[in-house]
Amino acid sequence: MIVSQKWLADYVDVSMSHDELADRLTMSGLNHEGTETVGDDSAIDLEVTSNRADCLGHIGVAREIAVLYGTQLKVPDPQPKTNGQSIGDHCKVSIESTDSCQRYTARLIRGVKIGPSPQWLQDRLTTLGIAIVNNVVDVTNYVMFECGQPLHAFDFAKLDGGQIIIRKAKDKEQFQAIDHRTYELNPDDCVIADASNPVAIAGVMGGADSEVSDSTTDVLIESAWFAPLSVRKTARRLTLHSPSSFRFERDVDAAQLDWASRRCCELILECAGGQLLDGVAEAGAESVAKEALTLRHGQLSRILGIEIPAEFIPQTLTALGLEVIKTSAESTTAVPPSWRKDLTREVDLVEEVGRIYGFDKVPDDASVPMAASGRPKADRVLDRIRDVLTSAGFDEAVTASLVPEKWSDAYSPWSDQPPLTSSQPMLGVLEKASQNIGTVNLLRRSLVPNLLEVRRINEYRSNGDVDVFETAKVYLSDPKGGIPDQPTKLAIASGCGYATMKGLIESLLDYLATGKTVTVEGCADPLLDRDRSARLMVEGQLLGWVGEVSQSGRKLFGLRSGSTVAELDIALLESLALLVPQHSNQSTFPPVSRDFNFIVSDEVSWAQLESTVRGAAGELLESVDYRETFRDAKKDGPGKKRLLLSVVLRSDDATLTGEQADAVSTRIIERTQKDVGAALVG
């Protein structure tokens, strides 16, 4: 809301310095956003919060100033002369759409002479940046910026039957507005119509046909209350925003309609001549008186933490326009004025008294009691996961939670339910090269597609070592309804291969002190290579997936080079992680190592061989370490491979003898031969 300093001076003393005034207004709720000099006037831009529709006019701002400085507020009392004829003989108002129009009033002035506004009026509107039109339209604007009530002037001669009907628009009803564009309306819109057609969209814009023009002689002045929601919906749908709709959307003061109407007529008579008819053509109910509120003075210190002198309370409330009914040392009872619809509860009065007294008087060195704070396990585990990933050289990415259909369809390992759809798309979140992919309106079921896009972008920009991870929620719809499941996942993408990615995950489990090992199961997801991919399990629970991206997957995501991805369930990692690992004694005796070179058929997996070795080795076993795989079809025959491994043995209470180690070796050789058909080389 821009206010003119000179204009304010009509209602209140503004002889204080501009900077001091701006600061006082900021500190009492009208944030000063800047001031520009316009001619010999200052245009002061104040931010008015949505609860303070009363400050969308100069009088409202002047009232704030009068309260802050303890000075007098002077509000005009318009009493325009009438010519003795009754408006009732010429104009009828009826409201059909009572939910969108609570009250409608109209006054009629005949014989106006349309022309330019007087200079003083033009100057004031110019300071506010409002276009000058003609004396009648300018006056309606002037009064709106004076008191916050939008007004509209119709060319009365153009109103069929002298009738004003407030009704819903008909479906697909056409309407030509003052901007000379045609709008198609629907029954959600409220219109002002004459006997045949709409002449204005209620609260939003007047019509071209009934617009005040140079040939206009009789004007009908509308002063009405339209429902905020109705005005907002229509203005938004038609993208017709105006200072009028802005004010109606914030709920104008219905008790002020008559004052605004009289004020407008008074100024039109002054600026454009003509004669005002007696009375008001009106419909709808008068606004109901507001209820009294009681402020217990003790609430001020309880909520604000400061002591405010008791006499300050009724005095301030009175200055703000409340009618104080009763006041004592303990409490004050008052009725809020019609223009303060935001004052409905005791706590609202706490704020009023407090803000006028000054929040700058609230101390910033109160003794807030100490309190223990903890960090949830989820938080700590997440930190450790990030530690591992960054230590391993992975950079953290943050990507959008909504994805296009193509990405959503490409990968959904956690759910076979369809993705959740947003009614609004995310606009502008895709890189240029991906903008033709589709609407970004699906809630992602996996983070992997976003990370592949991150790899694509970096690949396109020739960035090396694009190893990235993200931790974020995925959204899995529940066929039973209710709030969908939103588990947090860790996704990783890298140019490394399967083994490195798997190793990273194994290291992660180690670092989290889970004491658990990952086992793999087959996985058949078209995004991933059929063989170089796996479902990861920990003790029968699903940890996630790892795999190299398949040829078709690479094509789908426009990737030139190979990528390996993984996605893990953080809740499982959290439950497995041991935040405070426990000590166990380390053997002080030396280890004994035995190397084995087994020939097995290709069907025998490392996991099978390892578990056989472990089973055979017994309690002296410290570790089984994979060394390498080697194939020599000439020596070993087709379909065979050599698996080289080392077994480390150690005892807790003695140095192992060669005989003890040999006995273990023998068991291992016999058992592997029996269970997986392994033959020891050499």
């Binding site: 909520i303 407090g354 950079d395 909504l402 947003s422 979140v429 959204y475």
Partner: protein, 356 residues
């Protein structure tokens, strides 16, 4: 084998002393590894070294002098070896000479780096803020990002007609049409709409619904509003929000916590101010500013928890009071790192990420 001329013990000892002196001089005179090695062969050579030769002549020392001769020989042997070692050290490994230096080694070559990944600047900012809040006694709390009408609006005192609920201003979730047609366009479930939360205040409600005061939490996370992405907007962003409810919590406590928070974050004792504002879920509502670089900078929105909110979670607003405050993380992060376009944060160019 002819017997050597007899040598007196005195002679043998004198010869040894002379040899030690000669060797010492020769080692001292060596200026490079080659000369030193020559001297080493001359005196310490295994076959024809002078020490070896003298050692052979010990057989000619009369028997009664053999024991002393042996002791002397060992002492001289040790001394010569030590003389060589120190000369060797002087010329080689430990010394300033050129001997034994590897002239092919270039110490200016770059080190072999460990590639260490970076946390996203948003995470770094969140961690910093969470850390500060933790020291002030606020425990982190988490909540769902898909929320229901109650937690995102109703319980927060945002009435049905409030503009904040406008379908165009929120990511409401669509549900399959109830008519059951397979190809039906998904539409809004108007009875109990779900949406991507538009603020982290939702977590406040969830925590308070399940716990009695005192409550001191900080919630952090993603929030969603359908702005078209440009340099200063993104339809997804992050918020941090603090909530404290207890028997005697006042606006002065709020201002104090904001002051402590700003001082910790900015590392200086910065002035803060609060000025009236409006939010549906707080009353009074304030904006908090801090004074930095000669001007007031907006910090975030705050206020005393609205009695309606307290009532909605089953608290008695006459018995407990509380404050809440919230900040946008992206704005703080961008100011902190001088990032000029919010979209950089979500493009994830690794060159961008590795700066922080």
């Amino acid at each position: 084998m002819p017997t050597a001329e007899p040598v007196t013990l005195e002679q043998f000892i004198a010869d040894l002393d002379a040899l030690q002196q000669q060797a010492s001089d020769a080692f001292a005179a060596a200026t490079d590894a080659e000369q030193l090695d020559k001297a080493r062969v001359e005196f310490l050579g295994a076959k024809k070294g002078k020490l070896k030769l003298i050692q052979k002549s010990m057989g000619a020392v009369p028997n009664e002098g053999k024991r002393d001769a042996g002791q002397k020989l060992n002492a001289v042997k040790q001394a010569i070896q030590q003389g060589f070692d120190s000369a060797n050290e002087r010329l080689g490994a430990g010394g300033g000479g050129d001997a034994k230096r590897d002239k092919t080694f270039d110490s200016t070559l770059p080190g072999k780096r460990f590639r260490i990944g970076k946390l996203h600047p948003i995470t770094q900012t969140i961690n910093e803020l969470k850390d500060i809040m933790g020291r002030l006694g606020f425990t982190p709390a988490d909540g769902p990002e898909i929320e229901d009408d109650w937690h995102n609006f109703e319980a927060l005192n945002i009435p049905k007609v409030h503009p904040a609920r406008d379908p165009l201003d929120n990511f409401y979730l669509s549900v399959a049409s109830k008519t059951g047609a397979n190809d039906s366009v998904p539409e809004l479930n108007v009875d109990s709409p779900l949406l991507m939360r538009s603020q982290t205040s939702t977590v406040q409600i969830r925590v308070m619904e399940n716990r009695q005061p005192p409550v001191r939490i900080v919630s952090l996370g993603r929030v969603y509003r359908p702005d078209t992405a440009d340099w200063s907007h993104y339809p997804m962003f992050h918020q941090i929000e603090g909530l404290m409810v207890d028997q005697k919590v006042t606006l002065a406590d709020l201002k104090t916590v904001i002051k402590l928070f700003a001082t910790s974050y900015l590392g200086n004792d910065v002035p803060v101010r609060i000025r009236p504002s409006f939010f549906p879920f707080t009353e009074p509502s304030v904006e908090a500013d801090y004074y930095w670089d000669g001007k007031w900078v907006e910090f975030g929105g705050a206020g005393m928890v609205d009695p309606n909110v307290l009532r909605h979670v089953g608290y008695d607003p006459d018995k407990v009071s509380g404050f809440a405050f919230g900040l946008g993380i992206e704005r703080l992060c961008m100011i902190r790192h001088q990032i000029t376009d919010i979209r950089y944060l979500f493009t994830n160019d690794v060159r961008f990420l590795r700066q922080f």
